[in-house]
């Protein structure tokens, strides 16, 4: 097919997206970067201060606390989301009615808005009247003040996030599983592989691209965790659950240091970029090969 002919048509196909993308995504993102080079409180005029916001960040202990908390959250939630998602996908990868019901039950929480998820779990975690502690006490385990205990608060947030998001990773794993041709399993069985052998030598290797995709997406989402934490703990107790995006929100929309807040956002962007480069690259290679 003729390349030139493509060029013109491609442009027409791209045009509407291009306009929306530049106006409502790329433009504001660049605008955000410009703001990060200024000192600005919304009402006054922005004052250009170069990279001062970035150097200030490097010496801001609150920023580093948020960074550590975010890494802690990511470190806990990503492996669990991926692992549990895979486990549930394997469990539900069967035509039985119960499995179909299970899939729906697992995915349904994902459509809830994060503020509602936060509110619901805050209620479930309530120290005295919450659902969870009621059953713990019944099992003769002392009640846990989930969201106010310095060591339990972050795990509690992770549990709520798991409940909310594991359906998403499960569905994508399920898709990956269903893409594996049945013949491959048969061939493996003929070679004498058992259940575990099939899983180890057929399922896992063939799920690799799916797994990569899921890791990229969960990493991106986990690094940007905000809404549900905002509702559940508001960063407390003792700043143990304040995350990067929440810090961004505090600095930008409570202290009105918009330049500084944008700098936080760009550091986060940079981190994710580096992380994703490797994996996105993998995707590109994979994509072109097809």
């Amino acid at each position: 097919m003729n390349k030139n002919k493509y060029g013109g048509t491609a442009f027409l196909f791209l045009l509407p997206f291009l306009v929306a993308f530049i106006l409502f995504r790329l433009g504001p993102v660049i605008g955000g970067f410009m703001i990060s080079l200024t000192e600005w409180n919304i009402v006054g005029a922005p004052k250009f201060i170069g990279i001062a916001n970035y150097t200030r960040l490097m010496h801001d202990p609150a920023f580093w606390t948020a960074m550590v908390n975010t890494l802690y959250f990511v470190g806990m939630s990503v492996p669990l989301l991926v692992g549990l998602g895979l486990g549930l996908a394997l469990l539900y990868n069967q035509p039985a009615k119960s499995a179909v019901f299970g899939r729906v039950a697992t995915f349904a929480p994902y459509v809830m808005m994060p503020t509602v998820v936060g509110l619901l779990w805050k209620w479930i975690y309530d120290t005295r009247f919450g659902l969870l502690n009621y059953y713990l006490v019944k099992l003769h385990i002392p009640a846990i003040p989930w969201l106010t205990d310095v060591n339990m608060a972050m795990p509690a947030v992770v549990i709520a996030t798991l409940w909310w998001n594991v359906g998403y990773t499960m569905v994508i794993f399920l898709a990956g599983l269903q893409d594996i041709p049945e013949e491959l399993y048969e061939a493996a069985r003929i070679d004498g592989a058992g259940r575990w052998g099939c899983f180890r030598h057929v399922t896992l290797p063939l799920l690799k691209p799916t797994t990569f995709f899921i890791i990229v997406i969960t990493l991106i989402n986990s690094f940007q965790v905000f809404d549900q934490v905002f509702v559940m703990t508001n960063g407390g107790p003792l700043s143990r659950t304040i995350t990067l995006v929440q810090y961004l929100y505090k600095v930008g929309f409570q202290d009105y240091q918009l330049g500084y807040a944008s700098a936080v956002a760009y550091i986060l962007f940079l981190m994710l970029m580096i992380l994703a480069m490797v994996q996105l690259k993998y995707f590109f290679v994979k994509g072109e090969a097809k």
Partner: protein, 280 residues
């Protein structure tokens, strides 16, 4: 114990496990419903009752009386529907170009677009605000819909999907003298229904759930999540004690439409996300 018995045992264990997991998964949602139907006295009680002793719609009544929930609801619905339609159309077209056409700087541009997934949306709120202010469109329907149109996830998802469609289909049509637009609308879009449905669900949900932007951009055009979070959830205010009955009633009302959309489309959804619609 022979293999058959072992298999049966295995099956029972799996079923029990399944049942256990499902119970844990739906318990919170059921608890939300249960709480929303209880009077305040029964909510704050040291005994847990799944089925309220006294059923009451008081929480819902209070919610509708105190707040203009209906108008929040319609703003949310219309905005979500409009952005879903627009995003579907423009993302599908662009993703098709990315998947099937060669043009200058394609990969660079695709990479640039996808990398925008990595920017925390909070950073775009202020520039967007200034932009909408300049054209005098704050607190409008446009303000709710347009910013969702820079959707990049759809490009990513649909490009993956389009690449799995065998080229032969299009080439045959091309031979028959069809242009790209005809191929796109007549062949590609129809077989991409599952992927489009997936994207539709995601777009609808992200518009339905979006919070910070509608909060900043609208006054009268308040959306449901903003309305709920700002007046019912009792975040921060002086009376910091949450009335969970009303909060759960509000929560339920706000998740219901998304749940309905998902449940009615979930068949497509699971199929769509397999990105392999052509096979089925």
């Amino acid at each position: 114990m022979n293999t058959r018995q072992a298999n049966r045992m295995m099956k029972i264990v799996m079923l029990a496990l399944l049942a256990g997991i499902i119970v844990v998964e739906i318990a919170p949602t059921v608890w939300m419903l249960s709480t929303s139907l209880k009077p305040e006295g029964e909510i704050v009680s040291s005994r847990i009752q799944w089925i309220p002793t006294t059923f009451t719609l008081e929480n819902y009544k209070m919610m509708f009386q105190r707040y203009t929930v209906a108008s929040w609801f319609f703003n949310s619905i219309f905005a979500a529907l409009a952005s879903t339609v627009i995003v579907l159309l423009i993302d599908a077209m662009a993703a098709y170009a990315f998947a099937r056409m060669k043009f200058f700087g394609r990969d660079m541009f695709f990479f640039l677009a996808v990398s925008m997934l990595l920017v925390p949306l909070q950073v775009t709120v202020v520039p967007l605000f200034l932009m909408f202010q300049k054209v005098g469109q704050l607190d409008s329907f446009l303000a709710l819909v347009l910013p969702t149109c820079g959707n990049v996830f759809g490009i990513f998802l649909l490009r993956q999907f389009f690449m799995t469609i065998p080229r032969e289909l299009e080439e045959a049509a091309f031979m028959d003298g069809c242009g790209h637009f005809r191929i796109f609308f007549k062949i590609v879009l129809p077989i991409s229904k599952p992927a489009l449905t997936t994207l539709a669900i995601f777009t609808f949900m992200s518009s339905w759930n979006s919070f910070l932007w509608p909060l900043i951009a609208t006054d009268k055009m308040r959306t449901l999540p903003v309305g709920i979070a700002m007046s019912i959830s009792g975040l921060g205010g002086t009376t910091a004690s949450i009335q969970y009955g009303i909060a759960m009633a509000g929560s339920l009302v706000s998740v219901l439409p998304a749940l309905i959309v998902f449940l009615s489309l979930q068949r497509f959804f699971v199929r769509g996300i397999t990105m392999s619609g052509i096979k089925g």
